[in-house]
Symmetry: none
Subunit: 224 residues, 2 copies
DNA sequence: TTTGTATGAATGAAAG
DNA sequence: CTTTCATTCATACAAA
């Protein structure tokens, strides 16, 4: 039909998604295998430029590639872990640092200590065998949305955001987010709560930051 | 595939994550566009209640939404800057840190203080184009980018991740992605930049994430 | 064409 | 605020 596949993946502005070339993939995979799991912005930039000679590519492509690749390797590894876990009963085997399947190509020498390296950030579930049925992986840190746990900056953090039930409004104003008319309160108020918002510039038309709801805009909430 | 979409996003207590409805998104985006970048707890509370009529939603959802949205908008902008910048060159470029040829290119106009309003909190890097190899955070109007011009959070404020440029190079190293020999720099460096990577577990030499290119590996780019 | 699958992209949620 | 992780959504492409 549309015989027009994006084979080369060079298809320019087709608007569709990036379709990496073989070379690009190879390089990315090699970098990954060499230990680059989470490139910095700068590295991404460099990689992107290098890969560009093989076809259109943007920084975000590289970024996503690493994100996805890492994530998928991880999930794959998880399975392998399970397998390894069970196979232990058969092989009496040593506890591989796992991801043994990674294959250490000839030129890739597993760094002696990298060990769980793959999970530097998740030391906890490093080599732990998994439950057959699968496990949650994420620790579910806490009940953020439910109770205290301020994840607000000290800056405006005089409240618990979700729980806000106990608003310590110094005075009384509700500081309605959706006033039906310009109040000016927000501006003043903000200066205290959220000073960064309406900083310095006094550009006449910059209604941007100051949240001046007085402007003619669609008030989603007016109905309420 | 359709494993389980929460289409309506109303999916109650499914335990899964919040799946905003179209309306909710619209409203959030509008608020954001109107200048609300970092809602206070009260504001979050209010917004949450308003949005609740469209489906299940909690304060934390709103909180996270703003955080993510802001961060990603910034990231996007940065990338756009990069692209815009690069598009003017035929770059083929070197990867130098470069704060050097700074020369304030023609297209860099010091924002009249009013900046674009888009970044109330980041007036400084508003529209500044970047240097090919990553720019020094900002264009160094005056004291040639050598010292503290902090309009960055003292904290750590790195550059963005997407395509971007650099990671707060404190000094000068090129931090080349593809060194021909082990440098060890990365490791040390990382400790500062990206502490999360090799964090906690005291593995003697977790070279994992740190990209220890010191190993004998195929250097894809050596030719270049 | 239909379906399965690999994977690019997007984004909610958190941890740092 | 920054960075990373987990999930999910969307699409390209291969296989049936």
């Amino acid at each position: 039909m549309e015989g027009g596949k994006n084979l080369g993946s060079n298809s320019p502005a087709a608007g569709s998604r990036w379709n990496p070339t073989k070379e690009q993939i190879n390089m990315l995979e090699n970098l990954y295998m060499q230990g680059l799991k989470t490139p910095s912005a700068q590295q991404i930039q460099q990689i992107t430029e290098k890969l560009r000679v093989f076809g259109h590519i943007e920084g975000k492509n590289v970024f996503y590639w690493f994100q996805n690749h890492k994530a998928r390797q991880r999930q794959k590894q998880k399975q392998d872990n399970n397998i390894a876990y069970f196979s232990r009963f058969v092989h009496t085997t040593p506890v591989f640092p796992t991801y043994q399947n990674v294959v250490c190509s000839p030129y890739y020498v597993q760094p002696p200590q990298s060990d769980l390296g793959f999970y530097s950030q998740y030391p906890k579930l490093a080599v732990a065998p998994l439950q057959p049925g699968g496990f949650k992986t994420r620790i579910i840190p806490k009940n953020i949305g439910k109770n205290k746990d301020k994840f607000m900056n000290p800056r405006s953090r005089n409240e618990e955001l979700d729980v806000i039930s106990n608003k310590k409004l110094t005075n009384q104003e509700t500081l309605d987010l959706f006033p039906l008319h310009p109040t000016g309160i927000l501006q003043a108020k903000t200066g205290t709560l959220n000073s960064a918002e309406n900083s310095t510039h006094s550009s006449p038309s910059s209604s941007e930051n100051n949240c001046n709801f007085g402007s003619p805009f669609f008030d989603f909430f007016e109905s309420q």
